[in-house]
Amino acid sequence: MYNEEEHIESEFMKQHGANPFKVPDGYFDSFNDRIMCKIQAENKQKGRSVNFVRILKPVLAVAASILLVYLVVNSQFTTHNVSRELSMSAISTVKDDSTLNFSLIDESTLVNAIFSDDNSNSTDINSEDMLAYLSSGLNEVQIFSEIQNN
């Protein structure tokens, strides 16, 4: 346990409490006014910032609402445009494909394709038979019975 008595004879303990500091003349006399001025200035500053916030609050609320509406509308419009652009690009791709096919075929290939043997195979009917068939004047019932007989 600390015993204060054992230090009582120390040189610095003899000078116990002697204050070596001083203050400028009139410091304490003017302190009250200075501190009150500072507090009032701080209160004014606080009041100003409170007023500023009070004015700014509704303005910010309106601005935020407008921004929100703009963003919602803009996002809807953008989505619609994107889907539209996508479908248009799909059509144009198809279109491009067909254009590309025709452009790749040269003239001789095209002529061969039109007058190829495939066509003659699928229509193995001579013109006389065709004329006789057309002039026979058969109605639908007769045609049907003929097909049935064949």
Binding site: Y2, S10, H16, N19, P20, F21, V23, P24
Partner: protein, 197 residues
């Protein structure tokens, strides 16, 4: 000792009157002026012993009273007004020194060097050779011991009051003071024999 007790009793009565007046908006400013008048000197000397320089003390004291003004509604009366004011002043002083310490980290100067420089550059230090040595000895102490030593050595504040202000047990405060006195004695003994002192 009887005089001291009487003065504390009268302060307590005044404190209650001031607190009552501070709670009424119409008398608030007047009561605060009274509080400043009553405590400015004691708080000033308490802060001055911690930060040493007059200009720094003035800044810290102003911040202390602004904190008191802003926080007076939160004072619930769990402790005495005197204790509450001293606690704010002590915390403000420590905050000030910590801010300085952070700046000093980059310039490789210790807190002790800063305090000694602060003392030597202060035109309002009126101590003799020996008192300057004592202040240097106090500046070597760790922060808590320095505060406890100053409160006991210069202001003779009771350990019970100190315990409330610093939120530390009486036993720990007595031990801090004991260690501080030992260190100060050793520092003075060592440096008294040197040429520079």
């Amino acid at each position: 000792m009887i005089v001291r007790k009487t003065s504390i009793d009268s302060i307590m009565t005044n404190d209650q009157q001031i607190l009552d007046a501070l709670r009424v908006p119409s008398t608030r400013e007047g009561a605060f002026r009274q509080l400043v008048s009553l405590y400015k000197e004691r708080l000033y000397w308490h802060i001055r012993k911690i930060v040493l320089n007059h200009d720094d003390t003035d800044d810290v004291l102003q911040n202390t009273f602004i904190k008191i003004w802003n926080g007076i509604d939160s004072f619930r009366g769990d402790s005495s007004l005197f204790t509450w004011l001293y606690r704010i002043a002590t915390n403000e002083s420590i905050t000030f020194l910590n801010q300085k310490k952070r700046k000093l980290t980059s310039s490789l100067t210790s807190e002790t060097d800063f305090l000694v420089n602060n003392l030597e550059s202060d035109p309002y230090f009126d101590g003799n050779h020996w008192q300057k040595l004592l202040q240097k000895a106090i500046a070597q102490l760790p922060e808590k011991q320095r505060i406890v030593f100053n409160m006991k050595y210069y202001d003779d504040i009771k350990y019970e009051d100190m315990s409330e202000i610093l939120e530390t047990s009486v036993g720990a405060l007595k031990a801090s003071y004991h260690h501080a006195v030992k260190k100060v004695e050793e520092f003075i003994k060592y440096h008294e024999t040197r040429v520079e002192y």
